[in-house]
Symmetry: C2
Subunit: 387 residues, 2 copies
C-alpha cells in the first residue's frame, strides 16, 4: 500500500455544532450535571492504563452503595441500558432455559424478546400496563412455573409503576432461580437495595437517575449468579457482552477485551461522586419530595395519575391525558416554546398518558414549579381548562 | 413505595478527577483532537429529538466518503469497535452459515470466535501473524470453500499488516457470499474504498483514525448485504445489534430502539468535520508521509520492521524488538518519563514487536520526531546501541 487512490467525492465541511438548549423532563436522557460535562473534556488515557483501572475501581466502590450491594462484580457495560439488559439476559438465559417474566410494560416485553432470541422458553404473567404484582400472586406464579430465570422491572418507564421485589426474589431462590431486575429508571433516584431484596442481576443506565449522558450500563451480579454462570452448558452467543470475559478485563488480570469508552467512565465517576457528596439518602429523598410536589401540582390542575399512589415511581410520573386533549400537540408546544422535552405513552398507553421525568438537576422545587407553570400553559393552549 | 429505607454504607466522596497527560502513540485509543473535547461539553438532546437525527444524518453524509461508499445504510453502532464487529458477524452469520476467515492475526481470531458463537461453521486460511494473502491464493481459498460469508481484516492491528481486498470481494461475489471487512484501524488514516473494493459490510471505531474517544463503531452495509439480511432464516440472537431494528431507528420511522450515546455522536460529527476540513486525501497523505518518516527514523536506529514495506499499515507500525532488549521495560520507561503510551505485541508476537500508532493529531513531523527521540533514549537506557 504505497500508492494513494482518491476516494469518493470529498465531504463538505459542516457548520459548528449548535444543539438547542433542552430541559429534559422526559423519561431520559435527563439533564446532565454541569460538572459531568466538565470532566468529559479531560484527556483520555488508554484502556489498559493503570489510571483507567483506578477509575473503574472507584466506580465499583461508588456504585455498590447506590445499588445497595456488596457484590464484588459491579461494573459498567460499554453500551446503553439496553446493552445492560442484553448482558443480563444473554449471560443467564441459554437455549432451553425457562424464563418467567412479570409482564406489565414495554421493558418486560423487551426482556421477553431478548430471552426468546437466546432460545429461552419464556412464560409470562401478563397484567395491564401500570398494574403491579402482589406478593402472593408473584410467589404463586414462580412456584407454579418453576423457571430457571425470573425477570421483573423495578421501575417500568413505559407505565410509571414500581414493582417491589422481595417476594419475587425469595420465591425464586426457593427453586434456585436467578433473578434479573431491570433498574434502568430507579438507580440513583429510588432505593434499589439489591442485597436486601435478593436481586441476583441488576442493570441500569447512566442517563436517568445518575444524570450522565447515555452510553454506559452499570450492572451488578451476585456471587450466586456468577456460580450459575460458571455452570452454563453453552457459550454465550454474545462475545461483546460475555460477563466472564468482562470479569477478566475489569478484575484481576486486566486482560484486554474491548476498548472501553473512557470519557463516559469519567462521566460516570463524576456522577457517582455527586451522589456521594449529596448523600444517597438525601438524594433519594429529594426525588421523593419533588415527585410529591409534582403530583400535587398536577392534581391541582385536575389531572389524574395513571398509577395508584402507593405504586408510583418517584422520578417518572404518568398523568393521564385529559379527554379532548391531543398529547402530541401539548408535547410539541412545550418543546417549541420552552425547549421542554416530555414523552408520551406508547403501546397500550399511546395517547393516554404523559411521561414526565423529574430527575437529577431537575428534581428541585424551582424546576418542578417552572415545569408545572409551563405544562399548565401548554394544556390551556390546547383547550384544557385546568380549573 | 412511600417509605425510604436507608441503603448500605454511604459512599465517600472522591478527589477531583485528574487524569495523567498521555501521548497516545499506541494502536488506540489515540490522541483526541481538542475540538472534539470541546463539543462533548455541549448540551445533550433526547434520543428522539429532531436535532439528534439531524446529527445522525450529517454523520452518515460525512462517513460515506471516508468509507468510500454510497451505501445509504451507514450509521454508528452504540458500542466500541468490537460491538461493530459483533454487529457485522451476528447479522450475517446464522446457525450453519459457512464462514471463511483470512486468519493472520488477533482480530481475525476474534471474528472466528464470534462466528462460532453464532453457530457458524468457520473455515480458516491460516498464515503467520504479519503475512498477507496474494490475490490468487485468496481466490483459490474462496472457490474451494464456497462459504456464505467471507471475513478479512484490512489493517490488522495486532501485526501491522494491510490486506488488499479486491480479489477477495470479487471471488466472494462469484458465489454470492457476503464480505465482512474489519476497518477498525484503517478508517480515517488509510484508503478504505468500500465500494471500489466490493466490501459488503465494513465496520470501524471512533478512537483510531478518527481521533475521537472510544464508544462508537461506524458501520456501512451494502444494499446487496441488506437483501441477504432480509432472507435470514433465523432471528439475530442479539437485539441490541440487530441491524433491521437499528435501520428503523436511524432511518425513516425513527422508531425508538435504544437511547443513543448522544455526546459521542457529537464527537463523531466533529471528527468527521475535521476530516472534511483537512480534505480526506490530504489527511490520508499526511498519515502516509509520517509513516514513512517514522520508519526511516526507526531504520536509522538499526531497527527492522516486522512487515515487508509493501504490506505495511501506515498508522500502526511494528518494529521488531532488538535482541537483548525487554520491550516491557522500554514501554514502562516511555510511559513513566514522557507519558508516552505505545503497545507491545501479543499472542505469537508477544515480546517480539512494538506497536506504534501515528494517527490524527500525532501524525505530524514534529510529533514523529519527538517520538523518535524519546524512543531512542528509552531503548538506549535499556542497553540497546542504536548505532
Amino acid at each position: 500500500m504505497t500508492t494513494l487512490a482518491p476516494q469518493a467525492d470529498a465531504p463538505h465541511k459542516l457548520a459548528e455544532l449548535n444543539p438547542p438548549k433542552r430541559l429534559l423532563f422526559g423519561p431520559g436522557p435527563t439533564q446532565v450535571h454541569p460538572r459531568i460535562y466538565e470532566v468529559m473534556s479531560k484527556p483520555i488515557v488508554g484502556h489498559l492504563d493503570p489510571f483507567f483501572f483506578q477509575v473503574t475501581t472507584e466506580i465499583r466502590d461508588l456504585l455498590q452503595p447506590v445499588f445497595g450491594t456488596q457484590n464484588p462484580f459491579t461494573i459498567a457495560i460499554s453500551g446503553t441500558g439496553s446493552a445492560g439488559m442484553e448482558a443480563a439476559v444473554s449471560n443467564f438465559v441459554e437455549s432451553g432455559s425457562k424464563v418467567a417474566v412479570f409482564a406489565n410494560g414495554y421493558f418486560a416485553d423487551r426482556i421477553s424478546e431478548m430471552a426468546r432470541r437466546q432460545d429461552g422458553h419464556v412464560v409470562r404473567f401478563e397484567k395491564p400496563w401500570g398494574e403491579v404484582y402482589s406478593d402472593s400472586e408473584a410467589v404463586e406464579f414462580i412456584r407454579r412455573e418453576r423457571p430457571q430465570v425470573v425477570a421483573y422491572v423495578t421501575a417500568e418507564t413505559s407505565t410509571g409503576a414500581f414493582q417491589k421485589g422481595k417476594a419475587i426474589c425469595d420465591a425464586a431462590h426457593e427453586i434456585d432461580a436467578v433473578v434479573i431486575a431491570d433498574c434502568v429508571t430507579s438507580l440513583g433516584a429510588m432505593p434499589v437495595e439489591v442485597d436486601k431484596t435478593g436481586i441476583d442481576v441488576a442493570y441500569s443506565c447512566s442517563q436517568k437517575g445518575l444524570s450522565c449522558p447515555p452510553g454506559l450500563s452499570p450492572i451488578t451480579v451476585s456471587p450466586r449468579a456468577l456460580s450459575h454462570l460458571k455452570s452454563r452448558k453453552t457459550v454465550n452467543h454474545s462475545w461483546y457482552l460475555d460477563l466472564t470475559l468482562l470479569a477478566d478485563y475489569y478484575e484481576g488480570a486486566h486482560r484486554y477485551h474491548h476498548t472501553a469508552p473512557i470519557t463516559l467512565f469519567y462521566a460516570l465517576r463524576e456522577a457517582l461522586n455527586l451522589v456521594a457528596e449529596e448523600g444517597l439518602d438525601q438524594r433519594l429523598q429529594r426525588h421523593y419530595r419533588n415527585h410529591k410536589r409534582l403530583v400535587k401540582g398536577l392534581e391541582e390542575m385536575r389531572l389524574r395519575m395513571h398509577v395508584p399512589e402507593q405504586h408510583r415511581i418517584w422520578n417518572l410520573n404518568t398523568p393521564l391525558v385529559p379527554e379532548g386533549v391531543n398529547d402530541a400537540n401539548v408535547r410539541a408546544r412545550l418543546l417549541k416554546d420552552q425547549g421542554i422535552e416530555i414523552a408520551g405513552g406508547f403501546g397500550p398507553l399511546a395517547g393516554k398518558v404523559f411521561r414526565i421525568g423529574i430527575m437529577g438537576p431537575l428534581a428541585t422545587e424551582e424546576k418542578v414549579d417552572f415545569f408545572l407553570q409551563e405544562f399548565r400553559k401548554a394544556l390551556a393552549a390546547e383547550g384544557y381548562k385546568p380549573h
